[in-house]
Point group: C3
Chain length 131, copies 3
């Protein structure tokens, strides 16, 4: 198993699922494209997708960046925490936006960790691991 690829693709699939939930919420709350406001219930689902997009953009390069310097298992584990964090974030945001803190922390902390875990060895010129 190529654990980093697996985690990366699961993060993309999870995001695509959030996207399909936005599509369903359009129908359910009667919010027609191009509008993205007008019903609180729709906006919550939409904000989960947008926030996930906002985190995926740094997650993916940091995941593959860290995998060039650290063992694959550690990098994949950080990605696993992110995946769980996003599920908690989705559940919390949809039921009560102000309770989304834990899910947010569990999804942004791995992103920050992976960025730093790439930046520091890159600055120090640590040798690259062979893929």
């Amino acid at each position: 198993m190529h654990a980093v690829d697996v985690v990366a693709m699961l993060a993309l699939l999870q995001y695509l699922v959030f996207g399909s939930l936005v599509g369903k919420a359009r129908g359910r709350y009667g919010v027609k494209a191009p509008a993205v406001t007008g019903a609180e219930g729709f906006e919550r689902v939409y904000r989960v997708q947008m926030n996930t997009l906002e985190l995926l953009v740094p997650l993916l390069p940091a995941l593959y960046g860290a995998a060039r310097y650290w063992p694959q298992a550690y990098v994949a584990a950080a990605g696993g925490v992110y995946l769980v964090g996003r599920v908690l974030y989705y559940r919390a945001y949809v039921s009560e936006p102000s309770s989304r803190g834990l899910g947010f922390v569990l999804s942004i902390a791995p992103v920050m960790t992976l960025v730093i875990a790439t930046l520091v060895p890159a600055l120090l010129g640590k040798p690259l691991l062979v893929a």
Copy 2:
């Protein structure tokens, strides 16, 4: 020719063109930054750019991910379908948002395909192709 790099960069250029069309639509419909609402015509062009952003985020890692397991020509062909799908999506959305279905399907299907085409061999531990 490095077909996957070519398709990836064409997808980025296409997206940058959509972005420049949003800039023009700001002037044409009198929507001043930081507003992103206020004129339906502007919002349509803006939503095309946003939706393209939403798809590019999974497309790029999945394109390069799939290229580690499959022949470059197949991966590039999936990217080519995406590029055509986006053109159809843009045309349809600007003229009538509710007709955007075909363009959307033609652009999300290659993304889904490439994600799965990376996930499955990564899970099975299929050997990586040499770049």
Copy 3:
């Protein structure tokens, strides 16, 4: 030092800082999630983050793409211009949105340059540099 990784991770960190400024602006201007409108001061900070997201999506693949064809120092230098451009863009947008032109040009020009710098040698089949 692995200059391209360093620049890439600094671009991600800069973006995460912009994200945290959006969080602070929510409190300061009293804009509660899921709303993203309602106070001009909040919207300016939010638009900086969104515009940075919109540029990061092409920047990262183009940075790593160009690094496969060109010396690392040139590619990292283009990334450095982007980083400075984003700082100018943030300062300008927050004080007066209509003055954001210079920062925008300095951040989009390196992105365009890197996309073209990947596309052209990929089309011509220029040999890949060893990482």
